[in-house]
């Protein structure tokens, strides 16, 4: 670590080398104390500038979302000529119109999405934690190879498998059922979560396993009674990410769900956009907000796990 610092220009070294350290140090200290006073004032201005930049940038980023919320409460014609956030009247008809604009009330699609989300979460929690336990704690032939393959599948573009997967699932007769969206989760194909859990289990002290083993516990017991309870934070991160990704998943639903009965929220919204002329932005916005609400709530309450999950494993 220090070697790198030595490559930086070091004027102090030169002054230390000229043999008059006492003579040199006094003025330096004086300059320093004057420096800290000036520094604190400069630091405050600097912080102010930073806050100004951040508020401006943050406001700009969030503004479209706020405007969408406000616009969803406006009469339709105002959406085309009111860029501000001021609400003069409160128009709820966008929500009631949008809710019943499609074949089914919007709640139907929310329920479909909820089923897929809950199934996906359960699937990921069970299958990924099992695989992670094997990778993190057990020794077996081919471990390194499998682990490497697992890491590679995180980066595999899903387009390479989507055509044969579609053929496979359509031959089983699973098109327009939720199975094509759920079965891959039950089989731990979201390798990202396996990796996240492996990382977490590696951080759990091995002494705990050993103690359980001495008490006569086998692997299923160690996994269920020792590891699982201790990896709750990783399970929470998995739950939250699975929730958001599945709730937003468009491509899978677009391919496998073509019957309006089975539509999840994203494909329902897409059908809504396609069926409407450009004049009904109000109800489109209203349903868009309804569709974003669950994600926003999860974000509010699960932020801690989201940020930790991203920061430690680095995938959005």
């Amino acid at each position: 670590m220090t070697t790198k610092l030595e490559t930086l220009p070091t004027p102090d070294k030169k002054s230390a080398g000229n043999g008059k350290p006492t003579n040199h140090r006094k003025p330096t200290r004086a300059r320093e104390s004057r420096g800290t006073l000036a520094f604190s004032r400069a630091a405050r201005t600097k912080a102010l500038i930073k806050h100004a930049i951040l508020i401006l940038a943050g406001g700009l980023m969030i503004y479209p979302l706020l405007w969408m919320v406000v616009s969803s409460l406006r009469p339709n014609e105002l959406i085309f000529r009111e860029p501000g956030l001021w609400l003069s009247t409160l128009e709820m008809s966008n929500y009631t119109d949008g809710w019943s604009a499609l074949t089914h009330p919007f709640g139907h699609y929310m329920l479909n999405s909820a089923i897929v989300v809950v199934g996906s979460i359960l699937g990921n929690l069970i299958s990924c934690s099992m695989a992670a336990y094997a990778f993190a704690r057990l020794q077996f032939t081919g471990k390194k190879l499998f682990f490497g393959i697992m890491l590679l599948t995180i980066m595999l573009p899903f387009h390479v498998v989507i055509v044969p997967q579609y053929i496979l699932f359509s031959q089983i007769g699973w098109v327009n059922t939720f199975w094509p969206l759920l079965v891959p989760k039950l089989l731990a194909t979201d390798a990202f979560f396996v990796f996240l859990m492996v990382q977490f289990i590696r951080g759990i002290p091995k002494d705990l396993d050993e103690a359980a083993r001495i008490d006569g516990a086998g692997h299923p017991r160690i996994f269920l009674r020792v590891i699982l309870p201790l990896m709750v934070p990783a399970l929470a991160t998995t739950t939250i990410f699975t929730f958001i990704w599945t709730w937003n998943d468009f491509f899978g639903a677009l391919i496998y769900l073509t019957d309006p009965d089975m539509f999840t929220v994203p494909v329902a919204l897409r059908a809504f956009v396609d069926s409407q002329s450009a004049t009904s932005w109000g109800s489109l916005f209203a349903m868009s907000i309804v569709s974003l609400l669950p994600v926003f709530l999860v974000f509010l309450f699960g932020q801690r796990f989201l940020i930790k999950g991203i920061a430690t494993t680095g995938i959005k």
Binding site: L54, S127, G148, Y166, H219, V273, S291, A311, G314
Partner: protein
Amino acid sequence: MSAISELNSLTKRKGPATAEEKKANGRDNKAAYIFLLPWLVGLVAITIGPMLMSLYLSFTDYNLLQPPEWTGLDNFIRMFSDARLHNSLRVTFTYVFVGVPLQLAVALVIALVLDKGLRGLPFYRSVFYLPSLLGGSVAVAILWKQIFGTTGLVNQVLAMFGVQGPGWISDPSTALGSIILLHVWTFGAPMIIFLAGLRQIPVMYYEAARVDGAGTLQQFWRITLPMLSPIIFFNLVLQIIGSFQSFTQAFIVSGGNGGPSDSTMFFTLYLYQKGFGQFDMGYASAMAWFLLVIIGVFTAINFIAAKYWVFYDD
């Protein structure tokens, strides 16, 4: 430690097995494969099997109704002369090589401003992070469609300054730009990775540099950037892989057709149209493998280039 550095260390570590490894070797095979069973089944049935199947299909003509007919390299030869495919490549490359650097640059700048004990950091972080959670949704794509429409929010604001803006998404020269902007808007996730990386840099490096008289800019070039380079690299690799597969935004904003005049026809959108619009499954498979090769090549280039600019502190 990230997935990428794990992969790196897997390929490097070739020392003899430790005593612990030797002792345990082979002991847990049965238990391990039981625990791995769901993953193994998934690997074979959902990932590797379909991969090989699509490789086979890429050499066939297949429309789901008749059995696949072997046509050799026909699909690949067709790709050579498919002008729409070439256009879709150009669109995708523009998106990736403008959108990703722009997004990472914004993420880095905001992370630098946010770093170092600024008050209200958790609040700012949430505000900047939120769009990256919502950005992949159909709802936000709908919002974008309105904002950059002829009578959308952007043009309403421009009109306040007396400027008559174009229909951003109905004009072929600006449509892709508005989708790139949507990608930049979701810089929150890489920003959080940068923030975590910045926190890893020992404060004493900066202290020592300040004592030695290094200015803010010099500290940034000599300490922050080199120390952060593994994380920049990590973000770059992942964002490039992800952006090549981008689909939803272009699909919704263009109404599913990649318009106007194919200006937002992403490679994945074209693949979807071929495979699931026209059921030209052989051609779609060939395209999918081509995409895999493109992503593989760019990831490899990234890893090779990394040797020259990524700095590892150990």
